[in-house]
Symmetry: C2
Subunit: 122 residues, 2 copies
């Protein structure tokens, strides 16, 4: 088996234009590593079955919770506990590495026009 | 539940002096996020039960495999598949975020003077 490294800047450079994109870059056991870029206001949702990790690579993610918000900047990470409602926002956009089990919906318990049915590799 | 972000630079700044240190910084489900700094030659080992992910934050990790080696630099990551023998090395040192299930030994299938029995939080 040939093990290859992954260059995250290269991968981000291959994302399509626009304010929101998510692509798979690696797998570890049954977990996905996805790169995401996002600008704007996402929707309120939770993941009833799993925690979810964001590692911020560029920009600032404002993670809104029902009782407060946390600004997560490049070089910082946050683990959203399972079942906790959250709404990612970013005025100027952020890029992040997202880690969660395979098959987790980007909009969690909510079906929305933002729901992505299948995340592609990049 | 109050969800807190984690600043990785701050965490690295709290590592003890020396060429090798590993500390826990976060948990996601039953997975550990650990920060590691390492300089020198580690030992050959494998993890028979799990993949293991290194995200390099600073410096260069030379990941030796039996048939080749891969240089992994800041902004790059590598997933070591379960059961694959590897030996991390670094002439000038590297800092990384390490992701793997709880309870995985740093020296895998090998018991060594480098084996850490219990990883502490930082």
């Amino acid at each position: 088996m040939t093990v290859e490294k992954i260059n995250l800047s290269d991968k981000f450079g291959k994302l399509p234009a626009g304010d929101y994109a998510v692509r798979l870059v690696a797998k570890m056991n049954n977990y996905d590593f996805k790169i995401v870029k996002f600008k704007g206001d996402f929707i309120w949702h939770s993941h009833p079955e799993t925690d979810e990790t964001f590692i911020i690579m560029e920009g600032t993610l404002v993670m809104n919770f029902r009782d407060r918000k946390v600004e997560v900047r490049a070089g910082e990470m946050i683990v959203i506990p399972k079942g906790v409602e959250h709404k990612p926002s970013s005025k100027n956009g952020y890029k992040a590495l997202l880690i969660e089990p395979e098959g987790v919906s980007n909009t969690g318990n909510v079906q929305s026009e933002m729901t992505i049915e299948k995340v592609e590799w990049v």
